[in-house]
């Protein structure tokens, strides 16, 4: 049987992280094709519902990326993201979904860091194995 290939949905803010992911591209930094990026203007646009929806519909992991604290294009947007992430982490623990969702700050010049995070996260999710959600969870 071939190795388990996780599906990972990445949310990226337009100003920092999406640009950083683009930079990984123009610098031709290889990372596994398991991740697909959804563009939003700010990481604070990403609701808990969106993350859970991704997991429910078949994603094995979700990576939320945004500008570094203090660097948000919308002043304090990413602090909302951080607060929401802490809340979500507790929910995920209760649901037995530890480690499936990760938050990372990726700046527009951190292409290399994104490629690194991408590789690591894919490996982590591979270790966790495919996400099988019991009906009652969602």
């Amino acid at each position: 049987m071939s190795e388990f290939q996780p599906k990972i949905v990445v949310f990226a803010c337009n100003w920092c992280s999406y640009a950083g992911i683009d930079l990984a591209g123009s610098s031709r930094l290889e990372y596994p094709p398991n991740l697909s990026v959804v563009r939003v203007m700010c990481s604070s646009r990403v609701s808990i519902e969106m993350i859970l929806k991704a997991l429910e519909r078949g994603a094995d992991g979700v990576l939320v990326t945004g500008c570094h604290p203090g660097d948000c294009h919308y002043i304090t947007g990413n602090y909302n993201t951080l607060r929401r992430y802490h809340l979500l982490r507790k929910m995920l623990e209760d649901l037995g979904l530890n480690g499936r969702v990760r938050l990372e700050w990726i700046s527009a010049s951190e292409g290399e860091r994104f490629a690194q995070v991408a590789k690591e996260f894919v490996e982590e999710i591979k270790k966790l194995g495919p996400l099988i959600i019991r009906e009652e969870v969602v």
């Binding site: 290939q5 599906k7 949905v9 337009n14 100003w15 920092c16 999406y18 640009a19 992911i21 683009d22 990984a24 591209g25 123009s26 031709r28 930094l29 290889e30 990372y31 596994p32 094709p33 697909s36 990026v37 959804v38 563009r39 939003v40 203007m41 700010c42 604070s44 646009r45 990403v46 609701s47 519902e49 969106m50 929806k53 991704a54 997991l55 429910e56 519909r57 078949g58 994603a59 500008c67 203090g70 660097d71 948000c72 294009h73 919308y74 002043i75 304090t76 947007g77 909302n80 929401r84 700046s107 527009a108 010049s109 951190e110 490629a115």
Partner: protein, 665 residues
């Protein structure tokens, strides 16, 4: 409701995309997706035939959604949006899929998987596109004035160009005078022009230009508003001199009894507590340094006041705040030297005869502390004074640069500055011996190689390929350097009377905070990040904010001037257009669902949402002028009443679900 009719266009981007995946095969796959009327592939979608293909298809097939799978939307979204507009379609019915930066460029080793990923991305775009709807933008006015921050050669050049184009320019400089680092240089490589001679006339032009309002000894504290109408809060530091009353005669400076190490002379000379940065300062209006003025610290003296013929001294002066309204901002805040004390092995700050290249510029300058004599440094009763003529001088290139432990990048200046410094010494002291310790000589600019050849062939200049490991001081203040020369494979011990460090160059003090006020990004070295490394070298992620000169990354004067000219041209174009389009991605409320709970109010960074009572019901109201379109409110809304245009829950969720499902159909 109108039937959704989608056209999909896959770009080969030459071999960038089609070299990894097979667009033809993908097209076949896509035709099976819902609402897809046509799917095509083409060599370069962004080219004129590529764009025409979309325009013609929109008319022929009556398409009302367009998906372009190509490069990043950050690159060509506006290109394809205008194709839609030309074909009579609302530009927000376009969806771009980034299959180059996010797929073929990063998963080249895995073509089969990449193709699956691309199909998945396009499939998700189809689901999202179905939920798109037309958006309208407003035209917002642009104020025809511009703020230039930093009065070095970059800020000077940008200000003059913008003033020439007819715009009102506010030039804000933190020091007393404009001029920047170039004013401190003696001569400039590679032609050895006298720096002051080419700079000071431009400084005078700035002060005489009626379109330029010079605001020195000031810093930017806050920026509000939007591109085209920024509101800038400037702090004018207390000058303790009424500049309107002052005539710039300089009597006060002459009479002031307090002596302070001069920043302009890099600590090698002194200035007074009431001072001009340097004799040729523009504006010619002095300031009092409150940390060293005897009256301000001890309450006695007032000599300047006594001698001032116009009564301009104003000890009760305070910081003042001004608000400027500008359409665009040019950031030209330059650089500073890396703090060489961090490289303890070279002993800078500890050994008096280890100096920086900038200190040598001051020693060599006719308006410097030694009136242009190059000497060793003596310290007498805690005071710096000139010593003897050095017999041997070592010049160390890459001091702190290209160094994992300090600054990784190349300073782009040190090689040429070091060669120039060898020339200063060889010219002034023909009997001296000059040893240049280099890593590589990077002589890439126009006339640089010729300059290098000229200097290295001087009889008293010696080239050693290696960085000294450590520097030791002798009792008499001379120095011993230990260096391995990889040209001759020999370990050398060099005795030198003076060591010149061509230091790493880094972003100016306070830039990290300033760029956060500007809300622009930085590169790994901390310099301002341009929007595109090749095509948008002066633009930033914020419309209407441009970078000029060294602040975008190391540059010599010719490159700085070219870059500043480009920044001025970009700012002019932005202002000349006269309007900008409002952000289409704003928040809006479905009043039928809103319960008026106010969670949105608490997460909005702009106070753009208020809760108002209408017909006895509490409802959220969005102020579309204040809203900047982050979407935080939409994510926080518990009922889904708050939405963001182009990023509605429905649009994002349909995309996310499709991606999570993967390629199923």
């Amino acid at each position: 409701m109108e039937e959704v009719r989608i056209g999909i266009y896959i770009c080969h981007c030459g071999k960038n995309i089609a070299g990894v995946i097979n667009p033809k095969r993908i097209v076949e796959h896509l035709s099976r997706l819902p609402n897809v009327v046509v799917a095509k592939e083409y060599l370069y979608m962004c080219s004129s035939p590529g764009q025409s293909l979309i325009e013609e298809d929109i008319k022929e097939y009556n398409l009302n959604r367009i998906i372009v799978a190509a490069c990043s939307p950050r690159m060509h979204e506006p290109t394809f949006q205008s194709a839609l507009i030309r074909a009579g379609l609302n530009p927000y019915l376009l969806e771009m899929v980034n299959i180059r930066e996010h797929a073929t460029w990063v998963h080249e080793r895995d073509p089969a998987e990449t193709e699956q990923k691309v199909i998945g991305l396009i499939r998700a775009a189809v689901h999202r596109a179905i939920n798109l709807y037309p958006l309208e933008v407003e035209r917002l006015p642009v104020v025809k004035s511009v703020l230039v921050v930093g009065g070095g050669i970059a800020g000077i050049r940008a200000s003059l160009d913008l003033a020439k184009a007819g715009y009102k320019v506010y030039l804000v400089e933190k020091n007393q005078s404009i001029g920047g680092k170039m004013a401190q240089l003696d001569k400039t490589f590679p032609t050895l022009d006298c720096s002051q001679c080419i700079l000071t006339p431009m400084m005078v032009d700035v002060s005489n230009n009626p379109n330029i309002i010079l605001q020195t000894y000031s810093v930017v504290e806050e920026i509000n508003g939007r591109p085209g109408e920024f509101e800038v809060k400037v702090r004018q530091k207390a000058r303790y001199v009424d500049w309107d009353a002052c005539t710039g005669c300089g009597t006060c400076v002459e009479k002031c009894p307090a002596r302070v190490p001069s920043e302009f002379d890099e600590g090698l000379g002194t200035r007074k507590a009431i001072y001009f940065d340097f004799p040729q300062a523009i504006p010619r209006r002095p300031v009092i340094d409150p940390d060293h003025c005897l009256y301000l610290i001890k309450g006695v003296c007032r000599v300047c006041e006594k001698f001032c013929p116009t009564g301009a001294i104003k000890f009760e002066d305070e910081d003042q705040f001004l608000t400027l309204k500008v359409g665009a901002i040019v950031v030209a805040t330059g650089y500073q030297l890396y703090d060489m004390r961090k490289m303890y092995e070279y002993g800078y700050g500890k050994y008096r005869n280890v100096i920086t290249g900038m200190q040598l510029e001051r020693l060599s300058s006719a308006n410097g502390p030694t009136s242009g004599r190059i000497t060793t440094i003596e310290i007498e009763r805690g005071k710096i004074k000139p010593g003897k003529e050095p017999e041997t001088v070592a010049i160390i290139l890459c001091a702190g640069s290209r160094d994992e432990n300090h600054i990784k990048y190349c300073c782009r200046i040190g090689c040429m500055a070091g060669l120039k410094h060898a020339y200063y010494i060889a010219h002034a002291l023909p009997n001296s011996k000059i040893i240049i310790c280099y890593t590589d000589i990077r002589a890439f600019g126009k006339g640089f190689e010729e300059f290098y050849q000229r200097i290295r062939s001087l009889p008293n200049v010696f080239m050693v390929r290696g960085r000294p490991m450590e520097i030791f001081e002798n009792k008499d203040g001379s120095l011993i350097l230990d260096v391995f020369d990889s040209n001759t494979n020999r370990r050398l011990t060099i005795n030198a009377d003076l060591v010149v460090l061509e230091t790493a160059l880094v972003p100016p003090q306070g830039f990290e905070e300033f760029r956060k006020i500007l809300k622009i990004s930085c590169d790994p070295g901390g310099f301002g990040l341009e929007l595109h490394p090749k095509l948008k070298p002066v633009e930033t992620t914020v419309d209407g904010i441009y970078l000029a000169g060294f602040i975008q990354g190391p540059k010599d004067i010719p490159d700085t001037v070219a870059h500043a000219g480009a920044a001025a041209a970009a700012a002019s174009a932005f202002l000349a257009k006269g309007y900008i389009e409002s952000i289409p991605y704003l928040a809006h409320v479905d009043e039928d669902i809103c319960s008026g709970c106010g969670v949105c109010v608490s997460v909005c960074p702009y106070d753009a949402i208020t809760i108002e009572v209408t017909d006895g019901r509490r409802l959220a109201k969005v102020n579309s002028v204040k809203c900047k379109g982050c979407g935080a409110c939409a994510a926080a809304c518990p009922s889904g009443a708050m939405q963001q245009h182009y990023f509605t829950d429905k649009q994002i969720l349909s995309e996310v679900s499709a991606l999570a499902e993967g390629v199923v159909a």
